[in-house]
Symmetry: C2
DNA sequence: TTGAAAGCGCTAACAT
DNA sequence: ATGTTAGCGCTTTCAA
């Protein structure tokens, strides 16, 4: 998605003569009297300038750096702007200045609750800053990311926000010399392209397993779906924790998207394959919800006979009966802080800390609170 | 969010000299020999043209309408493009042509599952078309929509997609004369600004109540949260259906966002206030999930002693125990079809039907299957 | 503090 | 089928 390819569409339905005539009104326009057919019909800087009796550049300055224009002129310009209902043309501005107000954002998914929250943080972070967000959706496809990142980068964005740390070497090289601020989110990393905000998926998964161990569960299984790089690192974490405890690895993994239905299916499969299973760490909350439903369907008592831990701490974990223990991750914060750091950098300020570990927190609830 | 205001940021961190030197290489550039400091450093149309030994406009045409250029020239141009790694500048294109490849999209939420699905449909619809998506998030605030819509419209989008039919008169007037295709989604309507894709929330809510009645439930309550215009119309629907059946109105409504936790709270409140309640229609699925959890917490048997119907048919409704009856709405389809219709119109073709009612379907599951 | 000129990279409108 | 010219609306540069 979001290509800037040429070709395709050509016609221009509905684009014909609408506000055509208005061009003439102020007759303020350029020195030249004749009317080009190419003009958009909207008032331009020159129109405002003529009406205010100043040069175009003064209007431009009044708009961008009001302090460089005398209060009197500023006021006259403000009136002209209001009168003409002038709105600056962002395209012209970008072309002339070589600088855009677009922050490119590349996410692996839009429907996944995790990224919906990130997205909310991003939009809240950008609110009122004057920047625009341009979203690319890779659908968890590394090739799509490799295609999208250079494409976005080539459009002179003011900054870019990327998900994760697994960009291809080529993409990475391109971005490192791109000349605009970049932040990677969702993962901890020693070697960011520029800035990074995240947490250790390895540690978080390890903490989940240790929590189950601490509650006395021993025959622990793990459910996972859609093994993206973050999931892979969680996998390393739960494997390490299980191995450290001398416990065998009991996993049910699917490449398909995570969902409650998938959670039920995977839980069912693992329960059948591993009789005596007494707990599940679910690498996503929707899997955990599905696992709980599967327990209910089988009449298994949670938490007495079976423990469940989820991951991400989605809102419904607290509402479930029993409520479900989960690893809280700061998704909204990553999106929001990511944008805030980028905006800081665009403004020429250095963030105090370009490498932020937001950590995680294991929220214990009823699903692992036994006896 | 997504303003195009002036002011704010000024500095240009990190933007300093990166690929500076490269400007000289092809020396192909314009007729003028001197090198402006303003140049971006990226190869331009003129560079490609010089390398291919043709005029700039020919390159432009080769890129946009290859059939208007002879195969031989086209081939030479393709080579030059590849050699220079040329990427067209979208801003310059937009400025010169007065036409952009941006489709503006205004949604009330990004985190709500409903709109996450719509968004996915939108991105899938736009994939491969060459159009870009610009999202505005109103957070269910009509004023924000009234602010955002004109702002987007002023940026010469190729088209716009709006949510619902409750734009202010001013916004509506502006958009009606905007000159680009517009589609409204999520609701049925007789008087679209341009095109519309939706379904009747009134009918859908009515169908939900009638389903409960058909299953023999009589002391029916309704839960609602965040009463946006769609919810209001559902409310009219459930009220009509209850009144038609001669049943009293038992509602628990909250202006706060819908969530499973909210569902539990509202269900709890209504159950306490209305002893003997035997069913709930929940105007959102997360409320329905919360209601189910509340029943579980209270030891109420669903569906035997209590019926539950949700709205939207989110994935987890099918996984719940018992699975939850819900009104299926075609969210993804509305997003996708909306974009497809816009793209058709941009290409100058008229869609067969500019007013599409996608309907809904009541999916009966265990939560209302008693007896 | 203000302005004139030039140009950002591309395409529309006429040529040829 | 290809080229020439003149912008699109804004900002940079340099000057006053």
């Amino acid at each position: 998605m979001v290509e800037t390819v040429q070709g395709a569409r050509d016609g221009d339905a509905g684009r014909t003569g609408t506000t055509q005539g208005r061009t003439g009104d102020g007759r303020a326009g350029a020195q030249v009297g004749r009317m080009s057919q190419r003009r958009s019909g909207r008032p331009t800087l020159a129109d405002v300038a003529a009406l205010a009796g100043v040069g175009a550049i003064t209007v431009s300055r009044a708009l961008r750096r009001p302090d460089q224009v005398s209060p009197a002129t500023r006021e006259r310009i403000a009136q002209a702007v209001a009168e003409l209902n002038y709105i600056p043309d962002p395209q012209a501005r970008i072309l002339a200045s070589g600088r855009s107000d677009v922050i490119g954002v590349i996410l692996p998914s839009l429907t996944n609750n995790v990224y919906a929250d990130v997205l909310q943080g991003i939009y809240d972070g950008v609110a009122g800053t004057g920047f625009q967000i341009q979203i690319g959706n890779t659908r968890y496809d590394p090739e799509e990311e490799a295609r999208l990142a250079p494409l976005f980068a080539s459009q002179r964005p003011a900054a870019m926000l990327l998900t994760g740390i697994d960009q291809t070497p080529a993409t990475r090289a391109l971005l490192e010399s791109a000349g605009f601020p970049i932040v990677q989110i969702m993962e901890k990393g020693d070697d960011p392209i520029d800035m990074i905000i995240g947490f250790s998926h390895f540690d978080a998964a390890q903490a989940a397993i240790r929590h189950l161990l601490g509650r006395g569960y021993r025959r622990i299984g793990v459910l996972g779906a859609r093994m993206d790089p973050r999931l892979m690192r969680r996998q390393e974490g739960w494997r390490a924790a299980l191995s450290e405890a001398g416990l065998p690895l009991r996993e049910a993994i699917s490449p398909e998207p995570s969902s409650a239905t998938m959670g039920r299916a995977l839980a069912s499969r693992l329960m059948d394959a591993e009789p005596g299973l007494d707990a599940l760490f679910c690498a996503n909350d929707d899997l955990a919800l599905g696992a709980l439903f599967e327990c209910q369907a089988r009449g298994i008592a949670v938490p007495r006979d079976f423990g469940i831990v989820g991951f991400n701490d989605l809102e419904m974990m607290a509402a479930a009966v029993p409520s479900i223990t989960s690893v809280q991750t700061r998704r909204y914060r990553m999106g929001r802080l990511g944008i805030e750091m980028l905006v800081e950098r665009i403004a020429g300020r250095r963030p105090a800390e370009p490498n932020v570990d937001l950590g995680f927190e294991l929220i214990e609830r009823e699903s692992t609170r036994r006896g």
